[in-house]
Amino acid sequence: MQKYTKYLFFISLFLSFVSLYVMGKGGKEIYPFFSWKLFTSPSGNEKLEEQYRLYRINGNDTIRLSYNATELYDQNNLGLITSFYGRKIDNNEDRKDNIRKMKTFIKSYLSEDNNIFLYKESFNPWELGKPSFRIKKIQITKL
């Protein structure tokens, strides 16, 4: 039976290429096979990057909330969840539902969950680490 390992390899390779094709069309990978198209260009390769972030508004102060890992969420989770619901809310996909979910998430993450706003940030990653680095931000909604 060990000779079938050969076919397993070709199946795996074939499904990787199918994943590549399907993902190119906007679809999803053929799990657990994947196109392995990772970091084809460095992160921040374009002059403009966008990101959804949470802010707190206290009177005249608009405070950018940084991701702090908690017992429940690591930094990676915080980024993924914020941008997942942020994008859906911004694109009006089941907006009400996703605002509700975002609020549930915020409640489980922040001890003070009032006056939180969703913002969309844009910035030039090539300027990171330089004094000229600026973030442009647009308010999406109150949460």
Binding site: T5, K6, S12, P32, S41, P42, S43, F84, T104, W126
Partner: protein
């Protein structure tokens, strides 16, 4: 030992090592599961539709632990009783166990290599690898694991070529400071300050162009390790360092993928002379 023999020998050891590693991996998934299951029930966004069928809600502790225990049992059984069908079930269960860990909100690929490794091992029972040509099937096993890295390396070449030909103005891997911007962008997205030691290392701009180029060529050529033992050992060390780099320099933690690389590709044959000595001693003592 000649190449053919030692390739089979190395797999025979890896067969058992993979099962012991598998038990450790199950424990690690349980720890991740415990943390994620404390999230509010609503905060669950399965990435694939098949996932919604298997786990319509984030799995309960009883359900998930049962699956983990069945998988652990199969891993232990196959240590003593090698069986193709059980191997297939192990592959299937590991793929399912990964759903609640890596496919919530988006898809993380750190466990894919382990799933593919168990997939490639379905038909390889160490007790049946006795014929001279059996080393070939072990080579296919290596190819299955290593081709994932080669595809990632080749896609970087394609990415560079595409951007140069289409003149997109984007930063490519061969640009000066490409690795540095990659680091800065990933740290920025995660809200973590870049450590000074990393910034200091990136001041050697030209050296980093060389290192990046070397890394991409090595990554793309990984599959060649399936045909040459010395190169395979080199690739194993390279991949370990590479994973360590992505973890600390770009916060892309591939977690147990790097350990799986060590377990499956390790040159166990270097210990063979010791093993023979041990057998000899035993035989002498016996007399």
């Amino acid at each position: 030992m000649k190449y053919k023999e030692l390739t089979v020998f190395n797999y025979k050891v890896a067969y058992y090592a993979m099962r012991i590693f598998g038990l450790y991996w199950l424990l690690m998934q349980y720890l991740d599961f415990r943390r994620i299951s404390q999230w509010p029930k609503e905060i669950y966004e399965p990435f694939l539709s098949i996932q919604r069928i298997i786990f319509p809600q984030y799995p309960s502790e009883i359900l998930y632990v049962s699956i983990l225990l069945i998988c652990a049992l199969l891993l232990i059984i196959t240590i003593f009783k090698q069986n193709y069908f059980l191997n297939f079930l192990i592959f299937l269960l590991i793929a399912i166990i990964n759903f609640p860990i890596s496919l919530n909100f988006s898809v993380g690929h750190n466990n894919h290599l382990i799933i593919i490794g168990f997939f490639m091992a379905i038909f390889l029972l160490s007790k049946n690898l006795n014929k001279e040509n059996d080393f070939k099937w072990v080579q296919y096993f290596y190819l299955g694991i290593l081709s994932t890295y080669s595809l990632a390396g080749i896609s970087k070449f394609v990415g560079v070529a595409k951007n140069l030909i289409l003149n997109t103005g984007k930063i490519t891997w061969i640009d000066k400071n490409a690795a540095k911007i990659n680091t800065l962008a990933n740290y920025w997205m995660a809200d973590i300050k870049v450590p000074d030691c990393i910034l200091n290392l990136y001041t050697y701009e030209n050296l980093w162009v060389l290192i990046t180029g070397f890394g991409i060529v090595a990554q793309a050529s990984c599959f060649l390790g399936a045909f040459n033992r010395k190169f395979l050992t080199f690739i194993m060390i390279f991949l370990y360092i590479f994973h360590w780099y992505t973890d600390f320099f770009i916060l892309a933690d591939f977690k147990d993928a790097k350990n799986f690389v060590l377990i499956t590709l390790f040159p166990y044959h270097i210990f063979y002379p010791l093993y023979l000595k041990f057998l000899n001693k035993k035989a002498i003592n016996h007399h």
